[in-house]
Every structure is written in C-alpha cells, then in structure tokens.
Symmetry: C2
Subunit: 316 residues, 2 copies
Amino acid sequence: VIVVFTGGTGGAKLVQGLHQVVAPEELTVIVNTGDDIEWWGLHVSPDIDTILYALSGLLSTERGWGVEGDSFRCLERMKQLGQPSWFSLGDLDLATHLTRTAMLRAGKSLSRATTELATKLGIRARVLPMSDDRVSTMLDTAKGTLTFQEYFVRERHQVEVRRVRFEGAHRARPAPGVIESIVAAEAIIFAPSNPVTSIGPILAVLGIRDALKQTKAPIAAVSPIVGGAAVSGPAGALMKMMGWPSTIAGVAKAYEDFLDGLVADHADEAEASVLRSEDLRVRCTNTIMNSPAARRDLARFVVEACAVKRGAGVGL
Amino acid sequence: VIVVFTGGTGGAKLVQGLHQVVAPEELTVIVNTGDDIEWWGLHVSPDIDTILYALSGLLSTERGWGVEGDSFRCLERMKQLGQPSWFSLGDLDLATHLTRTAMLRAGKSLSRATTELATKLGIRARVLPMSDDRVSTMLDTAKGTLTFQEYFVRERHQVEVRRVRFEGAHRARPAPGVIESIVAAEAIIFAPSNPVTSIGPILAVLGIRDALKQTKAPIAAVSPIVGGAAVSGPAGALMKMMGWPSTIAGVAKAYEDFLDGLVADHADEAEASVLRSEDLRVRCTNTIMNSPAARRDLARFVVEACAVKRGAGVGL
C-alpha cells in the first residue's frame, strides 16, 4: 500500500495521478484537518472534501476545490440574509457538509463519517483524516489571530504571519489506521502541499512523526516549491517565517528527520545537485501537474522512485 | 391591528390577500409551529417560512410552498449520499433554514429568529410563532405514531389517523406578543387552514384559547371546507376523526367557544342558512383564492365583515 500525506489542492492533483497508476485498494490518503471550519453551523473539512471529490471524479478542474459544475444559489441567499459569505459552499457541495455534520452530531467519528462518505461516492481508496480529535491551525498575524480559512480565504493570505500554532494537536490522537498505515506502508509520499499549514498539522499529531522516523517504508516528498517559489499559495512566505529557505532545501528541511528522497522540478536542477547527499536522494522531473497526463506521469515517477527498500536510499 | 391565525398553504393565500388590503404595520400573523421538523440537522419551520415567503413575494405560486424558481440540486446530492429525501428543501430555501438554525444555536428564540429573518426579507408585517417552546403535532395512525410531516408529506396523508396530539403544548407558553396581540386586536381572523393540525396546535398553547374567549375583538374564520370537502389536504378526514362534521358546521364547531362569524363559500349557502344564529353570523362569498385578485377580494370581504364591535356580532 502506498500512503500519501496531503493537504489542499496541489496535493489533490498528485492523489489524482496516483489513482491512475496504483490500484485503489493500494492507496491510503492521510489528510490534514487543521483547516476544518464550522461554517453556517456545518462541519466543513475542506482538505478531506478535495480528496473525496478528486477520487470520485467530482472535483472542479477549474477551481481545484468543490464540485465541478456546482452552483452557488444558497450562498447568494445567505448573503441576502446577512450571513457571512466569504467562504464559498456550492449547492452540491452543501450536501457533503450537511451529511458529515449529521453523522458527527449522531456521534460518529470524523474518520467513520469520511469512510461512509467515500463509500457513497464509490471511492475504493482509503481516505483517513489525520485525527478524529479537533486540531485547529491558528495563525498569529498583523491582523490578530486567524483561523487558517480566515487567513487563506478571507484575507487571501495577504497578511504577515508571525507564528503558526496547531491548537489541540498536543492532545490529538491519530485517527484509527493512521499509525498502522505508516508502519505497514510500501512507500510513503508527501504530496506537494504546503509543508507548514497543510502537512505541519498532520506531523503535529501525537505519534505520527515518530511513526515516520521508525517505519521501514521509503519516504519521498514532492516539492511544492518550484524555481524558488510556491506553485500556488503562501508556502514560500510561511516557510521563511519558519526560518526555512523557500527553496527545495527548505522542503527537505521541513521533513529532514524522516525524508529519504525529494522529487523536485527541472527548474531546480542546480539546487538539487547541491542538496543531493548520502542521506537524501534528489531527482528532478516535470512537477507542474496541468493535465491528467502530467499528474499520472509525476505519480508514476514518484512511485517508481520509491520502489526500493529504505536504507537503500529510495531510488531517487 | 388585524391578527390572523394561520397554518399552511391555504392560510398563506389569505395572508397575501390581507397584505394587499391592510397596511403591513396593521397586520400580525400568528403561525403554527407544531409542524416544525429537524431535517438534515436543520430546524425547519414550514408554516413560518410559507408566511415569510408569502409576505416577501418569494413564495412559489405553483407549489404554494418554498421559493419561486428554486432549484433542488442539494436535495439530489443528498439522495445520492443516502440521506432521507422525502422532505424537499430547495437550494434557496436552504439559506432560510441554515440561518434560522444558526440563530437558534446561538441562543436566540424562535420568535427573535423569525423577526430577524422577516426584517432581512423586507417584511413590515409582524410574524409571530405561536410559541418559542417546542410543540410537536403527533398523529397516532394505522402505521404507528407519525410526526405531522411524516404523515402529510412522506405518507401523503393516505393513512388512517386515530388521534392527534400536540406534544409539549401543555407546558408551552405563547411567544412574546401573542397574547398581547389577541387582547389588543381590532379583529381576529382564522385563515382557511386545517382546524385540527394547523390551528389546533396554536389553540393548544397555554392561555391562547382563553385570550380568544376574553378579547373584545370580533373573531371570524374563513372556512377551509367548501362544498362539504377540504379545498386541499386532509382537513375533512381529520375533522371527522375529531367527531366534527366535515362541513362548515364542523369548522364552526372547532372554534365554537370564541367564534363570532364564519365566512363560507357560495357553494355552502344551504348549510350557511341552517348554521346562522344569534351567536354566529355566517356570510357567503367566493373563497377559492386562485388569483391575487381573488385573495384580495376575500381579504377585503373578511376585513369589512369584522369592522364592528364584538357583541354586535361581527357584520357577517
């Protein structure tokens, strides 16, 4: 089984690629829930939904989030009724949040609700939230403390961030199956998600980082940084705030205590040759996933690179 | 101020008519909440919503409930996700339920939430739920005990009813303004709603029936029974179950302890002449409200009939 760690839209593209090259039963996706938000009284798990939609073929290609061909009629009415409207939920998308919220209120765990939603959507890959306990990514910024969605969506990540905290992480337990998946994996892949706010919350959950250090599976990351800048979103700025360079070296730094191999873009060949070492194999390919074929090719590249034993250094 | 007691779709038509002939500030609508339902985790108040939509011009003319031109995309997805789908909430309609539910969860009363929604919709008439306390109309039927919506919508009122109960009514207090409106009214009108399940729950709330007996305002009802049968819905069958004839005499019976006048349809002239007495004036007109003009004419007829003091017997 190949285990993928992922957060937002960039990660979902690699998961779509992996879904093309690996049998669905051989794919486990561990998803960030630090971005979860209570919105209009509903429990919204944006990163889980992006993965569910990606794996069921529902994901909007244009937006990278939400359901393809969705409408926003309810949202327009909510605006007229004076309700907050900066976070967009589509009419079709709403059904997912209503269903999840009903399941959680009925006492089901988030992982159970996720499995049931995945089954209803015909998904055969395994989708696991990082934890059934609530972890909230909070950003101390020039505009005060914001939740991740306030920072990312409402403020369009245009405010200076001084600190990122994962509230609740110190007492959050990994969801059932997470540690077992890490231990039993054939390979572990970090999708090109933001290392600070997409992968950071997952690594902050009790025991996950230790499991990654101890697993026998080779661990590779796909860099979300290409040519010294994030492909999309605020990864570069947040990595700098963490004291890491906003380069592929910074990505390696974020995962240094368990990473075996890094897949970078051809644009970073020079950086790659500096970074390459006995402990870290680095290989370059096209990492811009602007088509289904590009996603598949990158996924195949990463899987093939991982097809060696740990200690043998990942074939990168 | 004219005070209207109303339940479902028939009552909403008369309220639309009254809205054409009375200044909005002079209109108070007291609405049944015994049909309220928790649906997809949302608090839905079907009768209040019908009145809010009727007064804001949003009501679907074709359906008589919900928003004109609404779509049902979320509902279709809910069905695909295995959620119950026999109760239809439109995409625009959903915004009302999400907003109300958020207000209630924030600790607001149903009457406060109703006022805020009405204000947002530009409504200047006063809309009052019968009570801020939960009252549930329950029907003991051949298929077991059903909520009103299970009986009316899911079973399409095609099951035999043995008994109707208003759970919680014996400890429910009238919402703020209800008793005061009854006491201070110039006239009180019972819309042509089902006397058993639409008006019955309101009359079961503590103190409302007594206030109706004691008010100085003339009280008139518009018969929901025309030509010996309900214009729509199960009023006839339910009235029989209560031991009342399913005629205009049955309507008079339902309200006998406070009714001054009854407005019946021309189709019931013969019944009317039998029913007419010193205590109950009965007058006939066209009560089928199949156009805005018909609604306005009936409303004007009822208002003019009420323009006398109580004891003088309503000018019917």
